[in-house]
């Protein structure tokens, strides 16, 4: 016997969906559509002179060495952030899932960084790691290790990766913890009875059962590292030194908003949009098959 609620009203669902759809169209599809239109135009910042240039902006973008450089930086940055944020989130969740004294306090404290705005988070990191005004930064230099992320590109990239990952660890922690807690104890106990050690229990039982959470977090973290890390980069390094920390999204901002090259910037955001859509589609197509719900 199936218990299904039956609604005869054909209009009601659309009415209920309307507010969300309206927001989506006005704030997301419309501007995205405008970006597509703008990417085919060459225009001065004030919009006084407009020329339709077909795909010239795209041709410029893909030939620009700075763009390829930003793509490479984004790749390193995103992989590092995803790996670091998810790895630490999982580790912390596994640890907090055990019956330990004061678990509630740890859990609360671990969630805090997520509530910190990116710009504020970046300022905290700045006050810790800045070579002249940062507490730890000064100490490192005094210990004889040359540390100056304002001039050393590798150090700058490491710093923004750490700061961006730190921001996201909390989020991953909560989801992993919830995921762990929804795994039935009986399964793990059964494995223990069968003679599986701690390590085996985790990799053979817990981790596969956690895969829906892991998969969800993978998508979310990738999107985070692509788009939401703007604030951290902007406040810490502004893409520098050189172009060492300029990711694709940061370049969209700099070219469009600071340098007022609207056509080029739009072309970049269209490429970015297509890239992430493709990547997510592929993820769902191929990786999702290996996920056990």
């Amino acid at each position: 016997m199936s218990r299904r609620a039956i609604f005869d009203n054909k209009i009601l669902p659309y009415v209920l969906l309307a507010p969300q759809l309206a927001i989506t169209i006005v704030f997301f599809f419309w501007p995205a559509g405008q970006a597509v239109a703008q990417s085919l135009l060459r225009q001065d910042p004030f919009g006084l002179r407009t020329t339709f240039v077909w795909l010239e902006n795209f041709a410029h973008v893909v030939r620009d060495p700075a763009y390829l450089n930003a793509a490479g930086t984004t790749l390193i940055f995103s992989l590092a952030v995803v790996a670091l944020a998810m790895g630490s989130g999982l580790l912390l969740a596994v640890t907090a899932d055990k019956p330990i004294r004061g678990a509630g306090v740890y859990k609360t404290l671990l969630i805090w960084p997520y509530a910190v705005a990116p710009a504020v988070a970046a300022s905290l990191w700045l006050f810790i790691f800045h070579p002249t005004i940062g507490m730890l930064g000064r100490a490192i230099n005094q210990a004889g290790i040359p540390w100056d992320y304002t001039l050393n590109g590798t150090q700058a990239l490491v710093l923004v990766i750490l700061a961006a990952s730190w921001k996201q660890v909390s989020y991953n922690f909560i989801f992993f913890l919830a995921g762990l807690q929804s795994i039935p104890r009986s399964v793990i106990e059964a494995a223990a009875v069968d003679g599986a050690g701690t390590r085996q229990r985790f990799w053979k039982v817990t981790f596969p059962l956690l895969s829906p959470t892991t998969f969800f977090l993978l998508v979310v973290n990738l999107i985070y590292s692509f788009f939401d890390t703007f604030g951290v980069i902007h406040s810490l390094t502004r893409g520098g030194p050189g172009k060492a920390t300029e990711t694709l999204i940061y370049k969209v901002y700099v070219d469009g908003v600071v340098y007022l090259d609207l056509g080029g910037s739009s072309a970049q955001s269209v490429i970015l949009l297509l890239f992430v859509v493709t990547m997510t589609a592929l993820q769902f197509k191929y990786i999702e098959r290996r996920v056990h719900y």
Partner: protein
């Protein structure tokens, strides 16, 4: 499959939100309309000065409002200069441009190219029937904001120029004469070396606004061109000339000093500012506007002097060029003659000697008119504050030449960043001075060509 669609939509939501370039997404809501008092014409004025400078500027607008009953200037802070510029451009595109916007000097070429968006000041004053004499402005200021045929396009207001600040206590500790600061690059290098050898300060020499102080002003002071076509004044087809032997030599000097540990690169834009008042670096090239901060924060005796020059360069030193900002009048579809008249009256008010002199004395910006300067002198301010006249003297020490009028290069903010990037790589030892200047010049020329294409009449 359902989750696939959901995922794609989720991505589009995020990515859509990230398309910053679409005009509608950056269009700003116009400043809250203040209910106009009976009969008063309201003028929106957007500025980009942070406190305390912004407060002083607002004070001037309030004084204007109190000085008469027909017009009212409503001033709003729109973030730093670049944000103010972006806000004004977005507002213009949405048909809601403010009447007046404060724009930093490197935005000048962009604004001048936007002929339909701005109203030249000389035209505004003529239409309002208000006498306006550009010759009261210092030549270095007037030239920067005038069209090639000498007509004033924007209204000069806050102008600064880079100078040298030095720590007299550190000089004394190093056995240097604190009353004889270095005037040439070889003297500066010798002083910085002495300071480091004696450990009189942790850092010898640094600079704020590196490209403004040591590229743009460097070129003016040594009287060499920064770009062809009179630094861009004579046309948008100007080419950067920044890989000359002298430019390369100067970067080499800085790189050598960086390697010796006598020069520290303090970061882009104003980031280097902090290194001087803290006592870290004994010498800094910074904006004359840094003076207020040094007075407030420095716990040591300090002095100011001119920017150094290479004494084997013929004709050096010439006058420096300005930075800071000017006021631009923007057009809008519904703007009335009365509103333009109000703007003109406000401009007349701010060019009075009293306003110019007070602004200088309160902020450290340069007194930009000769009557204003005379008033400052007659008040005895420069006698009471030694060194406060250095920026003025440096700006006026020679008649502006073709190389010292200023610069008018499109997308100048982007060009500055290109030089930061190439210099930073050079300081890290990743390339030679010649490679850095060649690369920066080539990349800047690409930027200039893009500007030329987008703004070709």
């Amino acid at each position: 499959m359902r989750s696939l669609i959901a995922g794609v939509i989720a991505v589009m939501l995020v990515a859509g939100g990230a398309t910053l370039s679409a005009p509608a997404s950056i269009a700003q809501v116009p400043a809250p309309t203040v209910v106009a008092q009976a009969g008063r014409v309201t003028v929106d004025f957007w500025y980009g000065l942070t406190r305390p400078l912004g407060d002083i500027l607002e004070g001037i607008a309030t004084d204007f409002n109190n000085s008469q009953t027909r017009y009212r200037v409503v001033s709003s802070f729109k973030g730093a200069y670049p944000e103010t510029m972006q806000a004004a451009i977005a507002a213009f595109r949405a048909g809601n441009a403010p009447h007046i916007v404060q724009m930093f000097e490197v935005g000048t070429a962009t604004m001048m190219a936007a002929r339909g968006a701005i109203k030249p000041v000389h035209e505004l004053m003529k239409e309002a029937g208000i006498p306006f004499d550009p010759s009261i402005y210092l030549p270095a200021v007037r030239g920067y904001y005038s069209s090639p045929d000498g007509k004033m396009i924007s209204m000069p207001f806050n102008s600064s120029t880079p100078i040298t600040f030095y720590n007299k206590d550190a000089f004394r500790r190093a056995g240097l004469d604190p009353e004889k600061p270095p005037q040439t690059w070889s003297e500066l290098r010798a002083a910085a070396t002495k300071i480091r050898q004696t450990n009189a300060a942790p850092c010898g020499f640094t600079m704020a606004w590196p490209t403004w102080t040591n590229l743009e002003n460097f070129s003016a002071i040594q009287d060499v061109p920064l770009a062809s076509k009179m630094n861009g004044f004579e046309g948008m087809d100007a080419q950067m000339l920044t890989n000359s032997a002298l430019h390369v030599r100067h970067l080499q000097t800085l790189m050598d000093m960086h390697r010796e540990g006598t020069f520290r690169y303090g970061g882009r834009d104003s980031a280097g500012d902090a290194l001087f008042p803290s006592g870290e670096c004994a010498i800094i090239h910074g904006s004359s506007g840094l003076r207020a901060r040094v007075i407030r924060e420095a716990r040591f005796a300090w002095g100011v002097t001119y920017l150094p020059y290479y004494d084997d360069v013929k004709g050096a030193p010439k006058n420096s060029i300005i930075g800071g900002a000017s006021f631009w009048v923007m057009t809008s579809p519904r703007r009335t003659a009365d509103e333009y008249r109000a703007v003109a009256e406000f401009f007349k008010f701010i060019s009075q000697p009293e306003v110019v002199a007070n602004w200088h004395m309160e902020t450290g910006f340069v007194p930009i008119t000769f009557p204003g300067m005379t008033l400052v002198q007659s008040l005895g301010y420069w006698q009471a504050n030694p060194g406060a006249d250095i920026p003025f003297k440096q700006l006026t020490r020679s008649r502006p030449t073709r190389n010292t009028m200023g610069l008018r290069l499109g997308n100048m903010p982007e060009i500055r960043v290109i030089f930061y990037e190439e210099w930073e790589k050079a300081f890290q030892g990743q390339q030679t001075a010649k490679q850095a200047m060649d690369a920066a010049t080539r990349r800047s020329n690409d930027v200039l060509r893009r500007f030329e294409r987008a703004n070709a009449p």
